[in-house]
């Protein structure tokens, strides 16, 4: 099996040890890091997303594949930075202020990273000013907001308002998600997009980046 396919398979199977070992071996052979990402990792995580959508994969499988992908990515990231390679886009992500729940947000962050995005993960219970600082520092095109609780959904609105007041709203697209969040709520608070699942978040982010570039 060609090396690209082996790495693809290791990620698909959630085998972090193999994914790292294959990445190291391919680097030693002089394979370009960006080739590994575009030929193995992104297609593998797209396939993981597809399997998740059609319920061949569930949360444990998705988490394992994300781990394998991240394990390989850790080896590539310093080399990518040095080469000046550009990611598919930059996303600042976090669970909004007052909300400590981060499993859904972590799944989305992993899928975005697997989709070739550079992800700045601010964690949970993130104040609006932290999102603003992160957008300024990273030059992100997208801010992704998560909330699990009905009582913290209003923090999504205040975060968007804060981006507005900071003069950043026109520079970033905002996508939202989380158990109680609906497309209607996303529209009401002025978000640019809503995603119901972690895998569809990648499609949404790609669409939003394309809109930014247009």
């Amino acid at each position: 099996m060609p090396e690209f396919e082996k790495l693809h398979q290791a990620i698909l199977e959630g085998d972090q040890k193999s994914a790292r070992a294959l990445t190291e071996a391919m680097l030693a052979e002089g394979v370009a890091p960006m080739d590994m990402i575009t030929k193995s990792m992104v297609p593998a995580m797209d396939e993981v997303g597809r399997r998740f959508e059609c319920e061949e994969y569930f949360v444990p499988e998705l988490l394992l594949s994300a781990r394998a992908m991240k394990g390989a990515m850790e080896l590539l990231r310093p080399l990518l930075a040095a080469s000046g390679a550009q990611p598919a886009g930059r996303v600042v992500i976090g669970t909004v202020k007052g909300d400590l729940h981060d499993i859904g947000k972590n799944l989305v962050a992993s899928m975005l990273e697997g989709g070739g995005f550079e992800v700045v993960d601010l964690g949970a219970d993130v104040a609006p000013e932290k999102f603003i600082d992160a957008v300024k520092n990273s030059g992100a095109q997208i801010v992704a907001l998560s909330a699990l609780l009905t009582v913290t959904m209003p923090s999504m609105r205040t975060t968007i308002e804060a981006l507005n007041q900071a003069g950043l709203r026109s520079k970033v697209k905002v996508m939202v998600g989380g158990a109680p969040v609906t497309p209607q709520f996303a529209t009401e608070i002025g978000a640019d997009g809503y995603s119901e699942t972690a895998s569809s978040a990648v499609q949404l982010a790609r669409k939003l980046v394309a809109e930014t570039a247009a």
């Binding site: 569930f58 444990p60 007052g98 499993i103 609780l149 009582v151």
Partner: protein, 426 residues
């Protein structure tokens, strides 16, 4: 006591549990940790009904659920009564009550409730009230609930011992047993159906995995690590569940010997298998990892008692219903009709004769929290029309009523059930 001689509320619940259509749809609010009301809403309801102003007791400080006392239960027309839990989620005993303020509201918490406010306004809570160890829960500044702090301090993936994940499962202490027995006369005097949850039968409940009641938990305590272990460390999970099941069966024998058939329903497990759109695992994984243990627990209960077995699982879980029925569960909660594949009409038609729907009354994520009273009424009437015929339905919203839910909506919900039942309350 013969069924016919039972008080009306208890008979009503018994009828519906037996899939006989009762005189009216029974209502549960507050009998379990998944069918309760946030303490702030309990306080507001007491005010609405003109009941004596008093700080409300909170037995479940994690979700901050307020005790629904007899006067409030009567005002709302509640037909169930739950034995309060002796030990809180954070490991302290619910005795020696003391006042505490939650966002300005005075409430009562157990004497072992020990918290600190951090410089940023977050409140942290200590396991078993012991300030000498790191805190195990956090409420963000201005928040309404505590969430577990993940403490994965001794994790060595190459040297895992299932015994480490069993520290919180142990033989029921005599004082806990006595506590349950001592509460029963009050439940029986209430005339309502008696619900009990004794703990220890929640297999892999993600709220329990971080062990917020332990001072220094070992084993797999990180939520993500636990989820991946369901795929990558199945023999470990089996070893934990097998021993947990063994301990639980011994406890159930002792509990049953002490209380017999004086309760109607036993709340067994809150493990969530569903998400909004899908499931946490496949049916095949469920059947491999959970079914044998659920069968052992429910099987023992049905062979030795008249208790009905109550299973909670949020989300899109219709795919598991046949397996849950096979396991011996009688009741499913919270019936999250908004999740994928949870159409109430189809659920009632397919499983209505075999599962009691304890919940599904109104959506708490959208309608009850953010809708108008008219929208609440419409949804409640619709759900009652779907679920009530032939029995097998206990009215409860989809999960606990959350903080900041408008009281007008809760009243609209209750009025709609009473309207459906053709009775007036308060």
């Amino acid at each position: 006591m013969k069924e016919a001689d039972l008080p009306a509320a208890r008979r009503r619940v018994r009828d519906t549990l037996a899939h006989r259509e009762p005189d009216r749809v029974p209502i549960d609010l507050g009998s379990t940790s998944v069918t309760g009301i946030h303490v702030s809403v309990v306080a507001a309801l007491r005010e609405y009904y003109g009941l004596p102003r008093q700080p409300v007791k909170v037995y479940d400080v994690s979700q901050m659920l307020g005790a629904v006392d007899a006067d409030l239960a009567a005002a709302m027309g509640v037909d169930t009564w739950g034995i309060p839990r002796r030990r809180s989620h954070y490991g302290f005993v619910n005795e020696n009550w003391k006042p505490w303020r939650l966002n300005g509201l005075e409430i009562l918490v157990g004497g072992g409730f020990e918290v600190d406010t951090e410089p940023n306004g977050d409140i942290v809570i200590y396991p078993q009230g012991d300030r000498s160890v790191p805190p195990s829960g956090r409420m963000p500044a201005g928040g309404w609930f505590f969430d577990a702090i993940i403490r994965q301090n001794h994790f060595d993936p190459d040297h895992l011992d299932p015994a480490d994940n069993l520290e919180e499962f142990r033989p029921i202490p005599d004082e806990d047993l006595t506590w349950n027995v001592n509460w029963l006369p009050e439940g029986e005097a209430s005339g309502r159906a008696i619900i009990a949850g004794f703990g220890g039968t929640g297999f892999g409940d993600i709220a329990i995995v971080p062990a917020p009641g332990l001072k220094d938990p070992r084993g797999i305590r990180d939520i993500t690590e636990w989820y991946v272990s369901l795929r990558s460390r199945r023999s470990y999970i089996h070893a934990v569940f097998e021993k947990q099941c063994e301990i639980a069966l011994q406890n159930l024998k002792r509990i049953h010997a002490a209380i017999g058939n004086r309760i109607d329903v036993v709340y067994l497990c809150g493990t969530d298998f569903g998400t909004q759109t899908s499931a946490f695992c496949s049916v095949a994984t469920f059947r491999e990892l959970w079914l044998p243990y659920y069968k052992a627990i429910c099987g023992w209960i049905h062979a030795h008692s008249g208790w009905k077995c109550f299973k909670h699982s949020c989300g899109s879980v219709e795919r598991f219903f046949e397996s849950l029925i096979e396991a011996g569960f009688d009741i499913i909660n919270p019936v999250q009709c908004s999740a994928a594949g949870m159409d109430p009409v189809r659920l009632k038609k397919t499983y209505g004769g075999r599962l009691v729907f304890w919940g599904g009354g109104v959506d708490t994520q959208k309608t009850l929290a953010f809708g108008t009273p008219d929208q609440v009424r419409e949804e409640v009437l619709n759900r009652c029309e779907v679920f009530a015929p032939g029995g097998g339905f206990v009215f409860n919203p989809v999960h606990n009523i959350q903080a900041q839910t408008p009281v007008a909506n809760v009243i609209a919900m209750l009025n709609a059930v009473h309207e459906f039942n053709g009775v007036r309350h308060a």
